[in-house]
């Protein structure tokens, strides 16, 4: 059936979820990876902590720098947790490093800057020039429906450059990003790689794809922060990126509480409009906002589905409650849209004209000039006016026929 | 300096594409052809080949203008490189699936590899060691692994035609040559850096 939306039977992820695999039993890869982590008994976590210590010792033998490791941080709850593990539990001296994409909420600024007050660590911040960032916001949105590409690029490029420059062989990342789609299992002990960065964080684009636009002119020198070191440079220093989530049991709700109590970490002052959680993504006002709205526009699900799925798995919420949350939040057009339109000098109409070109024909269909899709709670609903011209509508419908 | 033009001889052998891709990757003018005019225009000829001796010779006789090519290579001394089966057909006879006539441009026969207890076909990366100096093997250090896929090998009649050997239980000829006529048992187009160097050296022949 056209545009039928199937859902994982345990969480609320649609089959359309990015990078998700659903096996024949109807349970998605994200649930299965979570279950694999849950099956690890406590004493195995002790063994995993020992494994981390051994890996740290291995890299320290090659370490010419004065820092034991580099921690890429945003100032979020995860960053605090990573810094806490490294400095307090393992007694190491890290270099903290932040990519500043100019989208921090005020409480995000404050959390970030507090880090070197509460941790024994030096902190480098690398922020590209604001005009370059505005251009990338516009280009990212027009080209791939993601104004936040610059953020993902910066976060996953600049720290590795710094590690290579400072000759620090160990980078400590936090959550296994990919448990969101269940790409890897606990015993894979997966490490940071250029392929995962290029394909998933940067979605197949690199800095050189943004040079040469007629309206938003950028040159190579504007994109130095966006480059990734070569294999030769990485091997010379012996840089490896390990994920704390492989060695310490990850529970975001518990971590938040711990970071608040120990270090005065602050959660969002205002509730987010597109999700019920308040402890995520303070480093970027658009991550839960219009960046994520674009995920909904493309694939029909949003950040709330991500959060609810995680909370269903950890038992904080039932699937029914999760579905209620999805119904309430996934589709919301949040007010940061207007903040962004002002930032990049675009009108709301221009925004929707571009956004609608990214609607996925596997999920959406057009009826009476409105966008429609199936819902997880049953039936279908309309979600806004179609902002495409006739030619674009024809092309959309043609694509839909080809795919389904 | 004369502009180089390599013709990869097309007689219905599977790997003309890979050879030509490598040449293009190196920035060399390349054509894949069996047409007389284009063969004549070329400065260098490459004969690739996979499969068996007998079936290759049959296709060569059927699909290539051999009188012209023989004249070009044997008499006019145009540089010629045979790869894998393309090297083996230079022999007088090949003994794979019966006795077959080869081109006879380099004296010798093609026989099954004596691999002892080792598995056949001989598939994978093996070392090639020069037994005499040659332009083709110039600039290689001692350890040079090239990619081979063969069950048969060339037994030269004249030691002067043996340029380099490879060991697999016993030694067998991996590079042979007589003046401008050269043959390599391995696949340069699959041998990464080492293979590229061989091709570049081949292009130095005039």
């Amino acid at each position: 059936m056209k545009n039928e939306m199937k859902y994982c039977r345990k969480c609320v992820y649609p089959f359309a979820t990015v990078n998700l695999h659903v096996d024949d039993d109807g349970v998605c890869s994200s649930c299965k990876t979570f279950e694999a982590f849950e099956e690890i008994p406590d004493h195995f976590w002790d063994k995993r902590k020992e494994r981390l210590k051994k890996l740290i010792k291995e890299t320290s033998d090659n370490n010419d720098s004065e820092y034991d490791c580099l921690i890429p941080v945003s100032g979020g709850k995860d960053s605090y947790y990573q810094a806490h593990i490294i400095t307090k539990e393992l007694g190491l001296k890290p270099l903290l490093m932040t990519y500043h994409g100019n989208n921090f909420l005020p409480e995000g600024d404050s959390n970030r800057d507090k880090m070197r007050h509460v941790f024994d660590a030096d902190h480098i911040i690398w922020g590209p020039n604001i005009e370059v960032l505005k251009k990338l916001n516009r280009l990212g949105f027009k080209r791939m429906g993601d104004m936040n590409w610059q953020n993902h690029c910066g976060i996953f490029s600049s720290p590795i450059q710094v590690a290579v420059k400072f000759k620090i062989p160990l980078i400590i990342w936090g959550e296994i990003n990919w448990d969101i789609s269940g790409m890897f299992d606990p015993n894979d002990f997966m490490e940071f790689s250029a392929r995962v960065r290029h394909e998933h964080d940067l979605r197949g684009y690199e800095w050189y794809d943004f040079i040469g636009d007629q309206d938003d002119k950028l040159i190579e020198k504007d994109m130095i922060w966006a480059k990734y070191p070569s294999d030769e440079e990485i091997l010379e220093v012996g840089v490896r990126g390990l994920y704390i989530g492989n060695f310490f049991k990850w529970d975001p709700n518990e971590h938040t509480k711990m970071m608040q109590d120990k270090y005065g970490w602050e959660e969002a002052r205002q509730p987010f409009e597109r999700t019920y959680r308040r402890m995520s993504n303070l480093d970027d006002r658009y991550e839960n906002g219009i960046h994520d709205l674009m995920k909904f526009v493309k694939f029909g699900y949003g950040r709330c589905s991500d959060h609810a799925s995680k909370d269903i798995r950890t038992g904080y919420m039932s699937r029914e409650e999760g579905i209620e949350m999805v119904k309430k939040y996934d589709h919301v057009v949040s007010s940061d849209l207007y903040y962004w339109l002002d930032y990049v000098s675009m009108t709301e109409e221009e925004f929707w004209n571009i956004a609608d070109t990214f609607r996925d024909p596997r999920v959406w269909w057009i009826e009476d000039g409105m966008w429609w899709k199936m819902n997880i709670w049953g039936g279908s609903s309309s979600y806004g006016v179609v902002h495409l011209n006739e030619k674009q509508i024809k092309s959309f419908n043609k694509k839909q026929d080809e795919i389904t | 300096m004369e502009e180089k033009l390599v013709c990869v001889l097309d007689y219905g052998s599977g790997n003309v594409g890979s050879v030509s891709n490598l040449l293009q990757h190196l920035g060399i003018n390349t054509i894949i052809s069996n047409k007389e005019k284009e063969i004549q225009k070329s400065t260098h000829l490459i004969l690739p080949g996979v499969g068996s001796f007998g079936s290759a010779m049959e296709k060569i006789r059927k699909n290539l203008p051999m009188t012209l090519i023989e004249d070009d290579v044997v008499y006019k001394k145009k540089p010629f490189l045979g790869i894998c089966i393309g090297m083996q057909v230079l022999a007088n006879y090949g003994f794979e699936f019966g006795k077959h006539d080869g081109l006879g441009w380099i004296e010798g026969n093609v026989e099954k590899i004596d691999s002892g207890d080792n598995p056949l076909p001989h598939i994978g990366w093996n070392n090639v060691t020069s037994v005499q100096e040659s332009k083709l093997m110039m600039g290689f250090e001692e350890i040079n692994d090239f990619y081979f896929v063969n069950s048969y090998c060339f037994k030269v009649q004249n030691e002067s035609n043996l340029i380099a050997e490879t060991t697999y239980h016993k030694n067998f000829a991996s590079v042979i040559g007589r003046d401008n006529i050269l043959g390599v048992q391995f696949h340069p187009e699959k041998s990464q850096g080492a293979g590229q160097k061989i091709i570049k050296n081949f292009l130095e022949y005039k």
């Binding site: 392929r195 197949g204 | 499969g51 076909p121 994978g124």
Partner: protein
């Protein structure tokens, strides 16, 4: 002497590169092409690329990325052959000589045949005659049953009733150039190869055997090379866990006395 090959295997399922566990659980890793570029950069000895899709739908479900979403397997191979700098074996869904020819023309050096070798023995014989034995790899999947090891086909679902040694020797007689020997029980387990199985087959067959199924550490490669007569060692999942994985594997094996090519990076 000839080196033992260390061979990365890429598994393609419906347009996604995947991890496989026990032939029943899969995890999407990414698009079909990028991983090939990385493996080329790390001077891999060979590449085995297997299509394990249960049907003919190839769709990464999004069109907003920096690469094409290619909707056919042959289309995918065509794109891969532009990025692959080592010999490549293509397997999956090969039913007849035309299928083999299509893949060879698109850039494959060898093809791997599994289920169809059982459905139609003559295919291997005919293929070896037409294209040469060295082009034909027979891939076999082995599972432990109450009656001992058995060869399974159709993605590990159907028991052929044959033991692996009988099957391997039969395929060799028919003209297979190499055998890719996989253990279904070990698939994605990270617990190491089924050494007993590898030893049994590699000591009796005269064609090269490629070990597959179960690698969780570089040490497992060494174990197979030290304890059995396998010609080559292959793995799928593990090469996607770390950067410069092939380089690090060869570094480990070289440093520990194995007869493999030295680690290298290509200038691509």
């Amino acid at each position: 002497m000839k080196k033992n090959r260390v061979i990365p295997v890429l598994l393609l399922k419906n347009g996604w590169l995947v991890q496989s566990r026990g032939f029943s659980r899969h995890q999407n890793l990414g698009n079909p092409i990028d991983a090939v570029k990385r493996l080329s950069k790390w001077a891999s000895d060979e590449l085995v690329y297997l299509d394990i899709s249960r049907d003919n739908i190839y769709d990464t479900r999004r069109d907003d990325q920096g690469y094409k979403n290619i909707s056919s397997f042959l289309g995918i191979i065509e794109n891969i052959s532009k990025e692959v700098f080592m010999p490549m074996t293509i397997g999956g869904k090969i039913k007849n000589l035309n299928d083999i020819e299509d893949r060879l023309l698109l850039g494959a050096d060898k093809v791997s045949i599994n289920t169809e070798a059982y459905n139609n023995n003559k295919l291997i014989e005919d293929a070896a005659k037409e294209f040469g034995s060295q082009c034909i790899v027979v891939s076999m999947d082995v599972k432990k049953t109450e009656l001992g090891n058995r060869v399974f086909t159709k993605f590990g679902k159907e028991d052929t009733g044959y033991g692996p040694l009988y099957w391997a020797k039969l395929m060799e007689d028919y003209g297979a150039g190499e055998i890719l020997l996989n253990s279904i029980d070990r698939d994605g387990s990270g617990e190491g190869y089924d050494i007993e199985l590898l030893d049994q087959i590699s000591s009796e067959c005269s064609c090269p055997i490629i070990a597959f199924g179960g690698v969780g550490e570089w040490e497992h490669f060494k174990e197979a090379l030290d304890k059995t007569n396998v010609d080559s060692v292959a793995a799928a999942n593990i090469f996607q866990y770390t950067d410069q994985s092939v380089y690090m594997a060869k570094k480990y094996l070289s440093n520990n006395g194995c007869n493999v090519r030295k680690p290298d990076l290509l200038k691509i």
